[in-house]
Amino acid sequence: MRAYGGTLVRYTLLIVTALVFVVPLFWVLSASLKDVREIYTFPPVWIPTEPKFSNYSEAWNSAPFGRFYLNTIITTLFGVVLEVVNAVLTAYALVFLRFPGRNIIFVVLLAALMVPIHVTILPNYLTIASLGWVNTYQGIILPGASVAFGAFLLRQHFLTLPSEIMEAARLDGAGHLQTLWYVLLPISKPMLVTVTLVSVVTKWNDFLWPLIATNSTGMRTLPIGLSYLFNQEGASQWGLIMAATIFVILPILLLFLRWQKHIVSGLTSGATKG
């Protein structure tokens, strides 16, 4: 099981693999600190001789990045809260509340998994346009605020909890909202953190829908603002563009460093929980 190839070969492969992933990230950082001369030389300079930190301020000022940040934070924050609340309430209802035809409702929920948001961009655009929601936060947020997969994951999780916990709460005279808030959520914290983080990452990076739902620069989110800067400056300003790239990826990278386990397990959870 363990021994494929000699130690030297294995370490060489390990280092090559690491380089394939580390070098591009290092390259962004290095380029973001280069002045124009060092960018346009061949062979390339690995470490800028005089780090040019002004690339960052120039990038920040050549497009309204403050505004892009604000837009991304608002749409991510509200989008995530709505999605997680919807996931929790739906999963709770499907597991702990009696209702005739509950299983049919669950199947209808599962059907939504088959319709990724990419398939419905056109009719959804027509809907928000007719509501007058183009270039609004609700137009960006609401189409992605419903949740099927997260509700499914939480449902599966709730089903694994011992029923004594719920019965004990019931005997203490707790209502459903109290049981949910004081009993269920605290013991489901790791699962909730996972669902929340996956939602944060997805919404922060979302590209296609915010691109369609907005057309004024002031309402753009970070990833779209970044591509806007690139279209403006083109390949003549790689230093600025790489600095702006750091604006977009840094918050998510920090999140990843802090909660790597949760994020990885959340993004790959479909594999282990059938």
Binding site: Y4, T17, P24, R98, V115, F207, L267
Partner: protein, 306 residues
């Protein structure tokens, strides 16, 4: 919202409690299903109607044209080209995810120093913005000042103009997409490798199997459900690869990277042919439906085995 204390006879309370539970159930699922209705179920139905019309998204009336959009799409060359590029991209990405994903997973499954670090860096791109990753690689592919030119000249090859050359644009997109998403397959394969019973390897060793035979006759067959999952998930995700294409090539040059999702966007939001965009979206939905049905059937089987 307490459930109320028993004042009447026990039977009454129970009945009232159930009715209140029904209301609570509806209240809990209402927001989610309202949104799903408006932005998932209804648009899918509405899209079927749109796909049967000709409309520039401005005119007050849509013209009903029956199946014309479909027959035009399948009767002309452009859409077949789009499908070909979609499957070219998908096939390469699936093959790459399986082969490289498994190879890296096997490497990281060995007892090597620093493997946790490498595991983290292979996964990190998965969570980064596709637009950001696309731009980083557009710079790396730059035929004059890019990093890749250095590497290629080091081995004596001159760099193509990757993103402006119809032959190289799609391979470039595939490389970037694989770089960004391979960590997913690696994690899934690693979990799969760790689930293989050590007894199987012991038995094979006793039978005198060398490492290749053990890989061929123990590892690969034991991993086949994992591979199936990786393949299906990669297919589904590859349909939705939009941001990398948007920032790197915009579907070009000369349509060389126009996959189905880019075609839908282009027809709907650049050419304003709503009917054609809707018809293409229906085709994409049907393709996804086939794959999802396969996946659900597989997932149910997986549950039974547990």
């Amino acid at each position: 919202m307490g459930l109320g204390k028993a004042r009447n006879g026990l039977g009454d309370v129970k009945k009232r409690r159930i009715d209140r539970q029904h209301l609570l159930f509806l209240a809990f699922i209402a927001p989610n299903f309202l949104l799903l209705g408006i932005f998932t179920y209804w648009p899918m139905l509405y899209q079927i109607y749109l796909s049967l019309t000709r409309w520039d998204m401005l005119a007050p009336k849509k013209t009903f044209v029956g199946l014309d959009n479909y027959t035009n799409m399948f009767g002309g060359q452009e859409f077949w080209g789009v499908l070909f590029k979609t499957f070219y991209f998908m096939g390469a990405v699936v093959a790459g995810s399986v082969v490289l994903g498994l190879a890296v997973a096997i490497l990281l499954n060995q007892r090597l120093r620093g493997r946790n670090f490498v595991r983290s860096v292979t996964f990190a791109p998965v969570i980064l913005s596709g637009a950001a990753v696309g731009l980083v690689w557009a710079y790396i592919f730059d035929p004059n000042y890019g990093l890749l030119r250095t590497l290629l000249e080091f081995i004596g090859v001159s760099s193509p103009d990757w993103l402006a050359d119809t032959r190289f644009a799609m391979p470039a997109i595939i490389i970037v997409y694989l770089w960004k998403s391979i960590g997913f397959a690696v994690v899934i394969y690693l979990a799969g490798l760790q689930n293989i019973s050590k007894d199987l390897y012991e038995a094979a060793r006793v039978d005198g199997a060398n490492s290749w035979v053990r890989f061929r006759h123990v590892t690969l067959p034991q991993l086949s459900p994992v591979t199936f999952f990786v393949v299906l998930t990669t297919i589904i995700n590859s349909f939705q690869a939009f941001d990398i294409i948007a920032v790197m090539t915009g579907g070009g040059p000369a349509g060389a990277t126009t996959t189905l999702i880019w075609y839908i966007y282009q027809e709907g939001f650049i050419a304003f042919r709503a009917g054609v965009a809707a018809a293409a979206a229906i085709i994409m939905f049907l393709l996804l439906l086939v794959i999802t049905v396969l996946q659900v059937r597989y997932a149910q089987r997986g549950v039974h085995y547990k």
